[in-house]
Point group: C2
Chain length 217, copies 2
Amino acid sequence: MVTLSEENYLKAIYHLGKQGSVAVSTNAIAEKIKSKASSVTDMVKKLADKNLANYVKYQGVTLTEKGRLIAALVIRKHRLWEVFLVEKLNFTWDEVHDVAEQLEHIKSLKLVDELDAFLGCPTHDPHGDPIPDKDGNYSPIKSVNILEIKKGEQGVLVLVKNSSDSFLKYLNKNNLALGDAIKVIDFEPFDKSLTIETSDRKMIISNEVAKNLYLSL
Amino acid sequence: MVTLSEENYLKAIYHLGKQGSVAVSTNAIAEKIKSKASSVTDMVKKLADKNLANYVKYQGVTLTEKGRLIAALVIRKHRLWEVFLVEKLNFTWDEVHDVAEQLEHIKSLKLVDELDAFLGCPTHDPHGDPIPDKDGNYSPIKSVNILEIKKGEQGVLVLVKNSSDSFLKYLNKNNLALGDAIKVIDFEPFDKSLTIETSDRKMIISNEVAKNLYLSL
DNA sequence: AATATATTTTAGACTAGACTAAAAATATAT
DNA sequence: ATATATTTTTAGTCTAGTCTAAAATATATT
């Protein structure tokens, strides 16, 4: 049995270390999970005992095949529930995270499979993140950060790499949503801000915001 | 904040003591919850401290108004999720209990309200149990235990008072479902079994089974 | 009413998970 | 190469929730 807490650690390691393949420091995990490095050390030993993680003192943590699969399935559940909340229960994309964070731990294979089918086997969640399949595999959309696009080029917003309430509310307020066509008009060297053009208007976005927007060309 | 464990205790007290209005013994709670009386004593003190239960040593537990509402909302969630699982995700009524037991603890007011609306504000779960409204109120269907019905009379199966896997599987196997018309043919004094007639056939049900079937006349 | 039986509570111990502070190891800078 | 700073681990403590065994109280029986 994998506990709720263990699932959260696996998820953090998965996210921080390229699906858990690259060694992650206990400190990094602690920060991600908002706990302390000492707590992480304890837990990581437990995960290693259960054959879910590889841990060498002072050298960080990776996931075993088993650990990677569990993490992927938790993420699969998280993202499927997000789709459910937005598409069926009228949640906005800035409201789903906390609830999905709880729902991702519900244990029932049938539930996940049926939910997936009920939603029409979606491939991406409301933020553009890919949904792993039953075997934990997924193919990320090919996308580029908006800062890497040349002046005058345009693309479609397919991914936002920040699910914080405040960031998503900012996008809502400014009428930016997945699927929008966006053209890069100008780059301002002084503060690294960007002028972009959407279907309704031109606007300036800060570098901070731009970092989180990914377009498909 | 009410913990998952606390919610389970509140639910048990609610079920055992007529919505928590009648004093329930720590032993009864322990049995219901599959724990030990000593654990219950500890928890019940905590609930009393939080103003969710009234507890007098050696005299059992009742719920406060606050405790009763929380219990009713947990039950509301449980039953709404059961409806969701059966109606939207192809679960059978014998498969829903364990999953609903997990889902009932998800915390989000919006989630419950939206789920309720999404399901068309159902009044009863797949076992015929009433679903409390936002304020924790509900009106049970008027129903009578099948053992109290006179020979020759008939009614519609509206409630089964046992959600165990084995009982529900028994009903499935024998083609008994909510909404079925059932006529009482005979009562056997020797073993207190019952001969009943459904649309397809006559059959004998044990007293044990009969105890759990409720009809509306 | 006195005693036996059953129920309930208390006391003390355990586990999972987390934390702080100190110690150990590693990395960085002179 | 050594001193300093940073990171990581260890040791010891805490809380929530549970348990067993013993003590206290209530109930039942004569």
